[in-house]
């Protein structure tokens, strides 16, 4: 940019005088407000509203999957139980896994990013807001599609991993496997889009002063995760497409008799499936850092180590997929490499844990708040899962416990202990920012301790069940095996979990109604989301802050001048440079529109149609294309250029 265009520091800028700010606020309110009414609700593009919807919807699916789990626990509570028939049980456990992975865990962590990343980087909004809206609708329609099909007895019944040949054309009768494969397409589109929005926001819209090494750790986590999504999801995109083609168009990717290979599926699926676990896990690491830092009232110990270990986890996470296939009889040589990788991936995580403990150790009067309880439980619960993970990395031991309840215990300790606990902590932590009210302390502690107890009661016995030989995915077991008592214990624990989540829900509702009103920074946090009101205005900040340190709110002495000069008549955001966040140019992000919804509907039509008739893909593509054109077509009212080619100068004038 030419010197004439460079940003400049202005003293006594009238735009920051009280009067100027009120004037600005009025205009921003008008420019950024969401249209009212149902139409307005459907055309919403504000990242906070979409993020909230994502979170609420994801938790709704969480509840559904939880209820399915309850059904399974009832069925397994005693031997030879006939509460669920095998056909239904198989659908139920498949739905449970699929929902938890694709409709809860991944969407909800990405959604936390969607809501908070723009706030934490001090941006007016998110990049590509309409695309974000589209991704929400795709997620919602995908989820509805799955559950409608389930209620219509077309629920997937091949497990969340859908191994051919069982899920293939010959043995996967009916449309159940197609439904599963197409749900994957829905969620994949959705999360790839969110990843793109987050990457663009994080790299190009950080407020001036927030160089990469000043980014909050949660933002780092979301950046890492977005990249993981980008490189992991295509694998399942490819494999689920091949599966559908095998089933509908009689291709032979997984048909060994015609040169295909069932194991090709397993390689592709786990090349996605294992990173998937870290996609769920890494954001939780970011949340842990935010909560622990704030509660310890000091910066998290070892910022650089934290960042590097998240990146390392992401990288190694792509090199361990074969440890899901140790029992398939692959050559030994390869296996030991994957054992080593799977064991070494523990190192970065353990460094982070030690870093957090160090942070707590040297805290300035640690505040044992509810969010901290959730974060602290990570040390006790997740670590168990991590260690049993190390055991599973060993080929000989894995070949004994693979596909037993030992593994079920392991990954619930990892995913619930490593992701859901921090997530719930983050929900309590950011609840005041999202709603303007604090969550109830007493109920909060109650639900935490109930969850903690219930969780261990449910899943710890499963280690033993595994060691005593109980396989996964069995709808019942004979009394002679003696697994009854442990299973009963687990079922009771599940009841306690159910109770705790009920308390959590009650707490949310009562707090929304009558919770203590939260000021802008109730926990004394250090990052920018606490610099704006609770809940934030549609335009996030007035004026947009800039930063001169990693913990701007803890260093008032390092004041840095706020941003002025963004046009408040347009939804204008400040685009900055990737590394040092130097102001680069101003960019108008699009406002509310119905096109994302329309396009999502058209895409949904195409996806669903295509699993019943191959031509559905072609016919369904037409409305999709039409919607995209409508979406892309520029709105009138902009200055039309004369047919004669304008010179650069005149154009520039006509534009600014």
């Amino acid at each position: 940019m030419t010197p004439a265009e460079a940003p400049r520091i202005v003293d006594n800028d009238p735009r920051l005088a009280p009067g100027g700010l009120d004037e600005e606020r009025r205009r921003l309110e008008h420019t950024w407000r969401s249209p009212s009414g149902l139409i307005g609700w459907l055309s919403e593009v504000d990242h906070k509203a979409i993020g909230r919807r994502f979170i609420v919807t994801a938790f709704a699916f969480f509840v559904l999957a939880g209820l399915l789990a309850a059904l399974m626990r009832i069925q397994l509570a005693r031997p030879d139980n006939t509460f669920l028939n095998p056909d239904l049980y198989n659908q139920v456990f498949t739905m449970h896994g699929t929902t938890m992975m694709f409709l809860f865990a991944v969407p909800v962590v990405l959604a936390m990013g969607v809501y908070f990343v723009p706030l934490m980087v001090g941006a007016r909004g998110i990049a590509l807001p309409r695309l974000l809206a589209y991704s929400y609708w795709m997620f919602l329609f995908g989820g509805l599609f799955l559950y409608v099909m389930f209620l219509a007895n077309v629920g997937p019944d091949n497990g969340w991993f859908s191994y051919p040949p069982l899920a293939g054309p010959e043995f996967g009768y009916g449309k159940r496997a197609d439904v599963w494969a197409q749900l994957i397409t829905f969620t994949e589109v959705s999360s790839l889009v969110v990843a793109t929005c987050l990457i663009c926001t994080i790299l190009k819209m950080r407020t001036p002063g927030m160089s990469l090494n000043r980014m909050p750790l949660f933002v780092w986590a979301m950046l890492v995760v977005s990249f993981m999504v980008m490189f992991a999801m295509p694998a399942v995109m490819i494999s689920s497409t091949c599966l559908i083609l095998d089933r509908l168009m009689s291709t032979h990717f997984f048909n060994q008799a015609e040169g295909g290979d069932p194991l090709l599926w397993q390689h592709l699926f786990w090349f996605f499936g294992h990173p998937e676990v870290y996609i769920i896990f890494v954001p939780a690491l970011g949340m842990m850092s935010e909560i622990i830092g704030t509660c310890s009232r000091r910066p998290v110990f070892g910022y650089l180590v934290m960042v590097l270990s998240m990146i390392a986890t992401a990288f190694i996470g792509f090199g361990v997929w074969v440890h899901h296939m140790f029992a398939t009889g692959l050559p030994q040589l390869g296996q030991s490499f994957f054992t080593a990788a799977s064991i070494m991936i523990v190192v970065p995580t353990s460094l982070q844990i030690f870093g957090w403990i160090a942070t707590v150790w040297t805290a300035r009067r640690l505040a044992i708040t509810v969010p901290f309880l959730y974060a602290a439980s990570f040390f006790f619960v997740f670590v168990i899962g991590g260690l049993s993970g190390v055991m599973l990395a060993s080929v000989p031991l894995d070949r004994q416990v693979h596909d037993t309840y030992f593994v079920v215990a392991h990954f619930h300790y990892v995913l619930i202990g490593g992701s859901t606990f921090p997530l719930l902590g983050a929900v309590v932590y950011w609840f005041p920012k999202m709603t303007g009210r604090m969550m109830g302390q007493w109920l909060g502690r109650l639900s935490f301790w109930l969850l903690f107890a219930g969780f261990n009661l449910t899943f710890f016995p499963m280690h033993l069940l595994g060691l005593y030989g109980m396989p996964r995915r069995v709808y019942t077991y004979p009394a002679s095996m003696g697994w009854g008592s442990m299973n009963l214990l687990a079922t009771i624990g599940a009841g306690v979990i159910f109770l705790s989540l009920l308390v959590f829900l009650v707490n949310v509702i009562t707090s929304l109604r009558a919770g203590a009103v939260a000021e802008s920074n109730p926990w004394g946090g250090s990052t920018l989301e606490w610099a704006t009101s609770s809940p934030p205005p549609p335009y996030n900040f007035l004026p947009q802050p800039t930063v001169a340190s990693r913990e701007p709110l803890w260093h008032p002495e390092l004041a840095s001048p706020p941003v002025v000069g963004l046009e408040s008549e347009k939804r204008q955001v400040l685009v900055t440079a990737v590394l040092d966040a130097e102001p680069d140019h101003r960019y108008k992000v699009p406002g509310p529109s119905l096109w994302p919804l329309a396009t999502a509907m058209a895409t949904t039509l195409m996806f669903i149609w295509s699993i019943f008739q191959a031509m559905g893909l072609v016919w369904g593509a037409i409305p999709t294309f039409v919607c995209l054109v409508g979406w892309f077509w520029p709105t009138r009212g902009k200055e039309r250029l004369a047919a004669s080619p304008p010179t650069r100068l005149t154009l520039r004038e006509s534009l600014s």
Partner: protein
């Protein structure tokens, strides 16, 4: 809990090695967990008082030490694992007994290899092995992926269509061990079990010769009638009984059914009562399995039972 299928109550060399590995890993991990938990508690207690005077430099040092320790522990585990893996491979030997196990939805077809095809022994859902001799299982599948798992003797290996996998094990204590399919294989994955009988070598040889013989002909008229029903009725469409005209291949071989301890792939004990219930309405006991309700009347059923009982 009973040890029918327990990983930590091994009855063979392979399982014993793995069980040993388990205990090593368990204790190391237990210590690590306790260390982390205690440190975390102390940290929380100190953090609450905000009393810690430790500088970040000191903290950095302890974090580095902790990191170093965990790397050391991990390397130890890796080493243990590789050593065990090596040891497991040493069982392979040319004079092993070869048994071919074929997975079907939802039962196991078992064949004892022999150079002379007619001297092969075919049975189902029950494997007899001699104690103290290396066994090599050749694993195949006719439909989907299954996994053969006999926890007391050895870890699992999948039965993958179009591939030939091997499983090597050795039983060191005579006894009856239970195995089960460990890879989700559809509707009745839960009821796809098998029984492994480890017996002294000469007992085993006796069993093998007994099972080479075709079915003994019926003696009483009722048994006679039972065989006729079996051959002419629905049974023979799927089941084989060597020495009769029943040659169906899509269900377990029943030539020596009487000598087996379970029916329905380890679902029920093989007693006359259960067998009657099974033949009358298999779909009630194991919903969705491939044996249809036969619709025999009481008298026919009794005859068939009487005949099946003779198949020792």
């Amino acid at each position: 809990m009973p040890h029918l299928q327990s990983i930590i109550h091994p009855a063979g060399i392979q399982a014993a090695r793995v069980s040993h590995l388990w205990w090593v890993m368990f204790w190391i991990c237990a210590v690590v967990w306790a260390a982390v938990a205690v440190t975390a508690m102390v940290a929380i207690a100190r953090g609450r008082r905000g009393s810690s005077t430790a500088t970040d430099a000191q903290m950095a040092r302890s974090v580095t030490v902790a990191g170093g320790l965990s790397v050391a522990a991990l390397l130890g585990l890796l080493f243990q694992s590789i050593v065990t893996g090596r040891a497991l491979d040493t069982l392979r030997s040319p004079d092993a007994l070869r048994i071919q196990v074929t997975g079907n939805q939802w039962w196991w077809d078992v064949q004892y290899e022999h150079a002379v095809p007619s001297r092969r022994v075919t049975t189902a859902n029950e494997i007899h092995i001699p104690v103290g001799r290396a066994i090599r299982f050749d694993l195949l599948s006719t439909d989907v992926i299954h996994s053969l798992w006999i926890p007391s003797l050895q870890g699992k290996i999948d039965l993958v269509p179009g591939r030939l996998n091997e499983l090597w094990l050795r039983a060191d204590e005579p006894g009856i061990y239970r195995g089960q399919c460990a890879e989700y294989c559809g509707l009745q994955h839960a009821k796809m079990a098998l029984v492994v009988v480890a017996e002294p070598p000469d007992d085993f040889e006796r069993w093998l010769t007994a099972n080479r013989a075709p079915a003994s002909p019926p003696t009483t008229p009722e048994q006679q009638r039972g065989r006729d029903i079996f051959e002419r009725g629905p049974c023979a469409m799927c089941h084989t009984i060597a020495g009769t005209s029943a040659g169906g291949r899509s269900a377990p071989d029943l030539t020596h059914l009487g000598s087996r301890s379970t029916i329905g792939a380890g679902t029920l004990p093989n007693t006359k009562g259960y067998l009657a219930g099974w033949i009358a309405d298999p779909q009630h006991i194991k919903p969705g399995n491939r044996m249809p309700p036969t619709g025999l009347n009481g008298e026919e059923l009794q005859a068939v039972l009487a005949y099946l009982e003779t198949l020792k």
